[in-house]
Symmetry: C2
Subunit: 429 residues, 2 copies
């Protein structure tokens, strides 16, 4: 009879409560699948008295997560406090130092301090597992780190913030402006306390930084991500993109190029018939490409009590089975390469939306300016004039960001633009 | 410095050669990801002299796979011979008896002898891993057995035979008959030597039987599958289904019902806007539903050298990392339950296509017969008459298979049917 695996859970929000529920409800199933009992020794949260809809009476209580993390009756410290620093980081460091394995859903902490924590874990011959940190219930960490370990990974991309995807699809389906949808999402509790984490793309970028490290054997480099949120996405662009056969998604893309590691998190156009284009609402999707596998697409719930708790349990049960404690990011942290951040120089088609002064030759002038910058036009639509301006949509052939930037500068100086143009990359998926 | 993990590979067809290529090309990467070298000690195949496009000179050769499986310098026996019995099964049994772990892509062997082999493996404290046996490169075994181990699985379904899906999508896109597409697929080498394995649904059913066992903790029960291939799917049905907003897919579904384990592999209609409906060509898709996760969808290449070799390597590298040798089907084979096969009694909507004699009251009679059997009509379309018959399409409301069977019998006796009706289940996905 094997010893039980004993958990200490810090943080009893939605996900923590979800984990407690699974451990209680599925005790027999978890035993059958791991050969041992999985039990909770102790829990910790800010408020002891809050009614969380689940009885915690049989678990020891610690006010201090560091005290929880270092208890003798805890084998695995489950960190669900959140926040890149503060108690979460302190408790994880304490747990590792005390010889505990760690399971966490904390993407911010890993994106910003992952290298340091991985070194600490590996020095202690312990590990940090974090399936729940990226794309909720979708098993993307396990897929990338284990299932595709025989592949050289060539590209990882995905829609990894359900709140943003909900907002963008809602703008289109209900014809609402960004501000209207923001207010709605905030009212429904879909946004983080600091909404910039969601709409600024920061949360999704944390996830991308983690995936990049595993995919490419590089140190987590959140600062190297070219980051833009969805705040500037307008209902006009959503409608215009749809008119050209595209959807606008907050898309993360990571790939190794000749210039270094390219990591982008930004609103992009994707074909409306592609799996990414058809992703609606709060669902997440991750696309992984490797030299042997070709492409694999994973789709599922990116957040919520059940899905995120399911991912936490994936890690807990791996530890319960007694598998090897592999390196935190798939290769020993000391061997991870420092990447050179590479702003994308890969050519891509672009979507341009602009309003021209309604005067003779304006469109010809723009076409000339684009041509002189080496940007060629694939498709162009001019819509009915509105008062004194003419709305124009252009889809370019593949062009480099440098050439596009040059074209945008020249357009600004052309004297025929009524407003600044909107330029969005079209991602080939 | 850890000892290398030494492979013996039996079977040097497409997949075997793919594995050899990965081991050679990515030696450094595999070492970085597992902490040890992964090497090939010996290989075996029917013909030693065949040019396989990769040098095998540095590996020992065995004519007999049993001899290969039991060599002292082999830690993991990689079985890529295929076939449910014969040398594959003999060599796997010999490998386990000799204390080797086994990695295999052999779905037929596992579907028919999985329980016996799992008992043998667990008695020897060794394991059999088989990610490549189901859905090629898609990590469905790892997802079901590890990532979702905290879930009670409620339903597993999928399109798991790329050749059938290629044929069905090609019938629609090119307007070809079943016989035309069969000849084309056969000419392109897309079909097994015995094409019934593909078009009869047997190969896909092997895969479903394996997934069911893991999902529900039951002994593999291939014989309990309600099985129908795609041979009777006509271009008329594909067009008619499209006209009603559906695609026809060879869909496997497994779920536990009050009556036992329901396992079906049959042509079904799915909404053309669903992820399964949008799956084209040889790609596979598996949908897994669990009580915490909700639904997760995995999509990727279901066959081919690179993807299948990638899946074989997933298993090899798990063993290289030295993880625990878990039970073959996720729970100890001795504890797996014997399931009661349950032909589906769950109500579903059905698609009916029929030709009625072109005489007054024929349609009214059919409507009456359906009503008397308790089958209510959701949508009905009658098309322009062809000579003396009137083609009619009906989509029913949810009805039980029993009620539908009763309705079909009564329709046959109604005296107004020009031909036997086609009835296909509509799956809610």
């Amino acid at each position: 009879m094997s010893q039980p695996l004993r958990l200490g859970i810090a943080g009893l929000g939605t996900v923590g409560v979800g984990v407690v529920k699974i451990v209680r409800k599925h005790a027999a199933l978890l035993h059958a699948r791991t050969g041992r009992d999985v039990v909770i020794s102790a829990v910790s949260a800010r408020s002891r008295d809050k009614d969380r809809g689940v009885s915690l009476k049989s678990y020891a209580w610690e006010d201090d997560p560091v005290a929880l993390a270092t208890r003798d009756d805890v084998d695995v410290f489950v960190e669900l406090i959140g926040g890149e620093d503060g108690p979460a980081r302190d408790a994880v460091a304490a747990a590792l130092a005390a010889g505990k394995d760690v399971v966490t859903a904390n993407k911010a902490m890993l994106a910003l301090h992952g290298q340091e924590l991985a070194l600490a874990a590996e020095a202690a011959d312990r590990t940090i597992k974090f399936e729940a940190a990226v794309a909720g219930g979708i098993p993307v960490i396990k897929t990338l780190m284990e299932a595709l370990a025989g592949n050289e990974i060539t590209r990882v991309m995905g829609v990894m913030n359900g709140s943003c995807n909900y907002m963008l699809t809602r703008m289109e389906s209900a014809g609402l402006t960004y501000d209207q949808v923001f207010a709605e999402a905030d009212g429904l509790g879909y946004l983080e306390a600091d909404p910039a984490l969601d709409v600024g793309g920061i949360d999704a970028a944390h996830k991308l930084a983690i995936l990049s490290s595993i995919a490419f054997g590089t140190k987590v480099d959140f600062a190297g991500i070219e980051l833009e949120g969805i705040e500037r996405v307008s209902i006009e662009d959503i409608h215009a993109a749809a008119d050209m056969g595209y959807k606008i998604k907050l898309l993360g893309v990571a790939q190794i190029t000749g210039r270094g590691l390219e990591q982008r998190m930004q609103p992009c156009l994707v074909p409306d018939t592609s799996p990414l284009g058809q992703l609606e609402g709060g669902t997440n999707m991750v696309v992984i490409e490797g030299d042997s596998i070709g492409q694999v697409v994973l789709r599922g719930p990116g957040a919520g009590e059940g899905p995120t708790a399911s991912a936490v349990m994936s890690d807990v049960l791996d530890l319960a089975r007694g598998g090897a404690r592999g390196p935190v990011f798939g290769q020993p942290a000391k061997d991870l390469r420092t990447s050179t951040p590479a702003t994308s120089q890969l050519p891509a088609p672009y979507y341009l939306r602009m309003s021209l002064d309604d005067k003779p030759g304006a469109l010809a002038k723009i076409a000339k300016v684009l041509g002189e910058a080496g940007v060629s036009i694939d498709r162009m639509r001019q819509y009915g004039h509105r008062e004194t301006v003419a709305p124009v949509l252009i889809v370019t052939h593949k062009t480099t960001p440098a050439a596009l930037g040059q074209a945008l500068s020249a357009m600004a100086e052309s004297g025929v633009m009524a407003t600044s143009p909107v330029a969005l990359r079209i991602e080939e998926v």
